[in-house]
Amino acid sequence: MDSTEDLSPRILLKQILITEPPRTPVGSSEPHAAGSSEPRRSSRRSKRDAEPQTPQNILRRSLRNKIQENITRKSLPLKRRTASAVLRQQAPSSSMMFDDGETPRHLLRKILQTEPAKSPVVHDKVAPAELQPPSKDNTATRSHSSFDLSDLDLPDVTMGNTVSAAKGLSRKRPRQSLNVTAFEKRLKDAEEEPENSIGDHSSLSLSSSSSLSLKTPFVDVHTEKRGLQRRVSNRRKITEEEFSAALSKQQMGDVSREALQGREVGGEDTNLAGITLGLSKLSEPDVTVDIVNCQTALYDQHDAMTSNFSIKPTIMATQLQRDIQEEEERREEERQKSAEEEEVVTNMEEDEGKENVDKTQDVSSKPEEKDNAVGFQTFDLDDGVEAAADSQSEDVEGGSEEEEAAVGSQAEEEGVEQSPTQEETAADFQSEDVEGLSEEEEAAAEEDEGEEQSPTQEETAADSQSEEEEAAATSQAEDKDVEQSQTEEEDGPPENAAAASPSEEEEAAAGSHPEDEGGSEEVYQLQRDDEEKSDGADRQTDEDDNDEERNQEEERHISRRAFRSEGGLVLPVVTATEAHSFMKSKSYSALGLNTSLERIQNQTGKPDWTKPSLQHLDEDFWDENDPADRKNASFHLLHVSHDAEVSRQQEDVEAAAEEAGEHEEESDEEEDDNEDFLGKTPAFVREKIKFFTSSPPALPSVSKNLPASSASKALPAAKPKQARRRRTGLSRRKTVLPKTYLMSVFKHFAKTKVSADVFPVLNEIMDKFFDRVAEDLETYAAHANRKTIKVEDVKLLLRRYV
């Protein structure tokens, strides 16, 4: 368009120069134009027709021509004429086009009218008039360039707009518009209508031009002509005016335009800043908000609380900022809540873990409650609790152990009294092991010294089960039981301990039997204690029984007292050590240590596990603090028991236990496990570990000690086997998989160093795993009405790993 338009006026000028026909009215002009440059006009028309015949375009063309005319006029009067002629030609042509009466057309019409198109005279008048204004305009524009700006107020705003708009289109056009406006001003004198109309109808450019013309056509010319140069200076004032205009006129759009223009020009910073601020105020403080948000976001990542707080004071400025802060606070609160929730969740998880532990304890507590019904005293309660707990987990074994103990006692004329106690406890606890109970009862009924023996049994039981469930105070009875039950497995001792608990109560109550009973007890203890103890104990039972029993009793009391007091944990150890020192033979020391240690172990094992049960039991006897104390004590006892175990195990090693291999291994592992677990593992895991530890000593010692007991073993062996299958968990001491195999496989898969202390954990895990596998496989086989697990069943199970 520009090129075409540019060409057209040039071409027209040339033609005009050549032809220069006098102007006539519109009609005449047309023929002139047609005659002079019909092809051009047609071309022009065609061009114009091609172009959107908008008033703007037409005006632009006219303006260009006028400008050119001015230029030409300056240089050559002929050119002026030609220019005027051109203008005239253009005007009439344009006027011809603008017959509609639109503002630009009106302009052209007026031009034509002003021009001497209507009549030669008019044309002449107009021509000189036209000539004059352009010259004047030129001069005026040149001279009054500076003045132009000052005169402009509103037009400046529009000026900016128009200029900017014009820039987009072309720089020449604005120039033309200026000329037109200048002419228009002239026309004002003649006719005011067109100007006004023009100003109203024209677009921004047109309106601006018209407005400009209204006030200062010169300015327009200068500004448009000199373009950039002027703009800067013009802009400054314009910006101010624009700002004012913007504020007065509209909102964002206008202001933004003006602001942009001002910025582009690089006008006064203050004004611009003011504009920007105004803009910011008017518009949403996106920047500030973003900044705040960004900052807050960053800070939130780090520390919502502190960072936000730190940011807040700095950012505090506007209401928006405050709002943002409020949002941040909300976020912080949310985060806090989430953190709290997380904490709650974690606490819940921990609580759940504790609950699980408590549940296990609760399960065991039931039989314990039964024991309580029997009327156990403090000591017995502990023993009973332990026994009950143990009984639940391993009923048959306990029964068998009790039987063995009973039998053994009978054989040795010692455990008679124990049996009844054992029977009582067994009967109370076990509903499954009726056989064992009945046997125990029979055996117990015969013996009278069961009472005394029970504590020893309890102690023995505690030794074997130390780390398992037993945690109560009745260490002696449990220990004895453990020792007696060593033949079978872990269950025995707890049951024996349970049975012994009442007997222990009797002992405590009586307290008069110590020597004789203690001797018998000691005999039992020696026999049922760890391997080495049994040998020594048998020899020295008579002599040392009394002493040991006294010491044991003292230790019992001390240890039990220790339960109540957190600090008392040291006492049992001390007593144990003292007893150890006092004891002459290893057996004595072992016994003393065992008793005390077992007590400690029982204590350690019990607190968490028997907490709920103890709570029931302790209402009558133990204070409510006991569980807590025991728990606290347990932690202390853990170390103590660990040491005790170490010492005990050392003694065991010294005594050359029979099953040294397994024993020592497990004992060592137990030691290590104790070290690791005592502080970290939950109670139930510890108990399981105790099962492990207790079982090995129980088995070999029992097998060794008494031939009679071994004979009795055969009977209960069959029964416990059946029961073992039903039992779950780690009642079995034996590992599901050999240690070497398991560790080697694990190490191979781990590809990194594996400490040896993982074996117990691994064992436990494998145990659970095999339980599930067996259960599932059995289910699959049963579903297929088979009694044999086939490969297909396992394949079905393997799908789970896909």
């Binding site: 496990d673 690791d676 677990f677 970290k680 593992t681 895991v685 073992r724 299958r725 039903r726 079995r732 599901v736 998989l737 050999p738 195999y741 398991l742 080697s744 496989v745 694990f746 898969f749 781990a750 590809k751 990194t752 160093k753 594996v754 400490s755 202390d757 993982v758 117990p760 954990v761 691994l762 436990e764 895990i765 494998m766 659970k768 795993f769 095999f770 339980d771 599930r772 596998v773 067996a774 259960e775 496989l777 059995e778 086989a781 049963a782 009694k787 044999t788 697990i789 086939k790 490969v791 069943d793 396992v794 394949k795 199970l797 393997l798 789970r800 790993y801």
Partner: protein
């Protein structure tokens, strides 16, 4: 590789509630199952140990991952 784990059959039989027999081929499959399980367990334990910047797998590492792996194996 090692030889077949001893007592595996007796272990499973003991764990099973009812008296079930285990076919010879299935025993090998069960062995595969255990190996797979141990593999995943070792892997998780290794990751956990690395998490604590320890090149050695310790008991508490294994214990921490055991529950998760067991549950996963159980489906």
């Amino acid at each position: 590789m090692l030889k077949k784990p001893p007592k595996l059959k007796s272990t499973i039989r003991s764990k099973a509630k009812g008296n079930v027999d285990i076919a010879a081929g299935s025993e090998a499959m069960i062995e595969l199952l255990t190996l797979l399980f141990l593999n995943s367990l070792a892997e998780e334990a290794k990751a956990k140990a690395f998490e604590e910047k320890s090149a050695t797998i310790r008991a508490h590492h294994v214990k921490a991952v055991s529950k998760k792996v067991l549950r996963k194996a159980r489906g």
